[in-house]
Symmetry: C2
Subunit: 363 residues, 2 copies
């Protein structure tokens, strides 16, 4: 019998509490991972980075991407691995010319400012146009060998559009909002192309071995509510509708994270996502009351809390666990990516505290 | 009969609908002003600035400060004037050495990082240590001649502390949060000194002629809720308790604005403030339901909406008015300061739209 690619991976997970919690199924303790857990705060990451060259060189080399993905799992008792990549791979594959200047964040050589610019953009085919990402997913999945699930991810269409229109990071999002307000139809065409690309990209990641996916809407929170609904959430709904939701005989949960979106959780819970990511400004207990049993919640300790003494980190983990309360449906995480200045020992205190303190809220 | 200083100003206001709306008293139309309404988007401001020298030179010269305060009132039908000054005058008066580098935002020559640094800081006496601000208030109040009320303002203790500890603006607030988490007692002492200083400063502004005051908590929204309560809101409560709340025979309303504080409005409404400022991420109608009739609400159009075509600006004003609904207790404003790139003609469209569209919601 010839195995289809998907079946090659099919194996029992040794630790699947992350996937179970995403589906609000019983778990013995609250699963935990950290956004940006493979990153500059780890000395072994900085060493790999020196060998690999640029950040994108690291992303494009499957062996390097696999190595840095696994690094935090060797140090900490994490319940999930996340693909090492960048949220801006899609615009890069569209030909926008992603590059990084030291200390300045991501930049693009081209900007999108006119209808013509939008029309010239291709829809990205994940398997072919971003084959280096799929190679990384396959390599990492194999290396994980069933220890914990692998999370795939993408930026949200709105978030990708902000970088493409601004040409990089922004403080006031003036260019992208001007484009949205003055040329709403062109903006919708851009967002639709991005949504189609994200669907293709995430489905390719799922086929290559990602067992859950997260949509990072880093900049949805800079919009007012009607614009958030129209220009960000609508396209994330399109994505959740277009994704492969079952693979290898298991559901593939979808996590939706809008930083600064704490006021809009009810609408987010209606998109078909399985789980909502929360930043640290939202009380997770109040959030749970608001979304009821429609979705799981992921979060939400302030990453800066890792600069506190160990005792305080444990207290804060306890406070968030108590706020969420008993029962499943909580994936512990930071409310945003871990700081490059965080002490890995404090990250360990955080992860261990979740495992030590959470069992009393389950079972 | 010898007039006391306060009585010198005592005069009937030709237009007091801003003050009435702050107290939720009936008005014939919704009052409107714009945060940072005296600023770089106005060519006449840029001309004044060229004459005056640096930004702080402009603040320190009462005649210049008066001139730029009045500039937007000559162009637009605004219902309030706001003192031209900076939120960082208090730390500057404490000896921290405020300066501005082009394109980089405010900076301090000294930072506050230790208990010793905190202990060395004086409490600022508004009338003496910031006499140049009081001169500006007196001059502006006289020049306004009862046309519209004058708003005084200060940064919140937490917001001032972020700049003092970081030494300027910050993306991640790592230093100030580390200080807060590692040395909470020193942080509380710093915040208490700042709160005492803000009380003295705002009371001096009120005595000099400010008819309402706003506390700008620009960075309260970067905290989680327990930290917001403990390190930001608590000190704003201390301020509202310590302020002169009636002067010249009229109440002096207090506006409290935490950018990014939309999730915490209920607690903010319990501080004794008369009005809460809202950024554009909050639906003002939902906010009104949440705070009931305890406070008025100020806001909340996205400043970037001024880059939209005129028709859209009017639509957005209408949407916000409908969301708030009928009755008093709404002061229209932007959800944050007007952009330096805004077209003054579009600011005029905004202000006029509020006056044209709002009467049907009153009376």
């Amino acid at each position: 019998m010839i195995l289809k690619p998907a079946q090659k991976h099919k194996s029992l997970l040794k630790n699947d509490r992350f996937l179970r919690a995403l589906l609000r199924q019983p778990v013995e303790s609250t699963p935990v991972w950290m956004m940006r857990q493979a990153g500059r705060y780890l000395p072994e990451y900085r060493a790999s980075r020196e060998h690999a060259g640029s950040f994108m060189d690291l992303c494009r080399n499957a062996d390097f991407a696999c190595e840095v993905t696994l690094q935090p799992l060797r140090r900490f008792d994490l319940d999930a691995a996340i693909l090492f990549s960048d949220i801006l791979t899609i615009p890069d594959a569209m030909g926008q010319g992603l590059y990084f200047e030291t200390g300045e964040g991501p930049k693009f050589r081209k900007t999108v400012r006119t209808e013509k610019d939008v029309n010239a953009l291709p829809v990205v085919q994940g398997e072919t146009d971003l084959d280096y990402v799929m190679n990384a997913v396959t390599t990492i999945r194999r290396a994980l060998n069933g220890s914990v699930p692998l999370i795939g991810f993408s930026g949200s269409p709105w978030t990708l559009a902000t970088y493409m229109v601004e040409g990089g990071s922004s403080k006031d999002f003036r260019q992208v909002k001007t484009f949205m307000l003055k040329q709403p139809e062109a903006m919708h065409r851009l967002l639709d192309k991005l949504a189609q690309s994200v669907i293709s990209y995430l489905n390719a990641q799922i086929k290559a071995g990602a067992q859950a996916v997260q949509i990072f809407d880093t900049w949805g929170g800079v919009l007012n509510e009607p614009c958030y609904q129209e220009f960000s959430l609508g396209y994330m709904r399109q994505i959740t509708t277009g994704l492969i939701r079952e693979h290898e005989g298991r559901p593939v949960p979808v996590i939706m994270f809008t930083k600064g979106g704490g006021q809009w959780l009810e609408s987010m819970a209606d998109t078909g996502a399985d789980c909502l990511g929360l930043d640290w400004t939202t009380d997770i207990g109040l959030a749970r009351k608001r979304v009821g049993d429609r979705v799981a919640l992921q979060g939400n300790m302030d990453p800066n809390m890792l600069f506190a003494p160990a005792r305080k980190i444990r207290e804060e983990v306890g406070r968030i666990l108590r706020s969420f309360g008993p029962g499943s449906g909580h994936i512990f995480n930071l409310g945003h990516g871990i700081s490059q200045f965080a002490d890995p020992e404090h990250a360990k205190v955080f992860v261990d505290a979740v495992h030590e303190l959470s069992p009393s809220f389950h079972g």
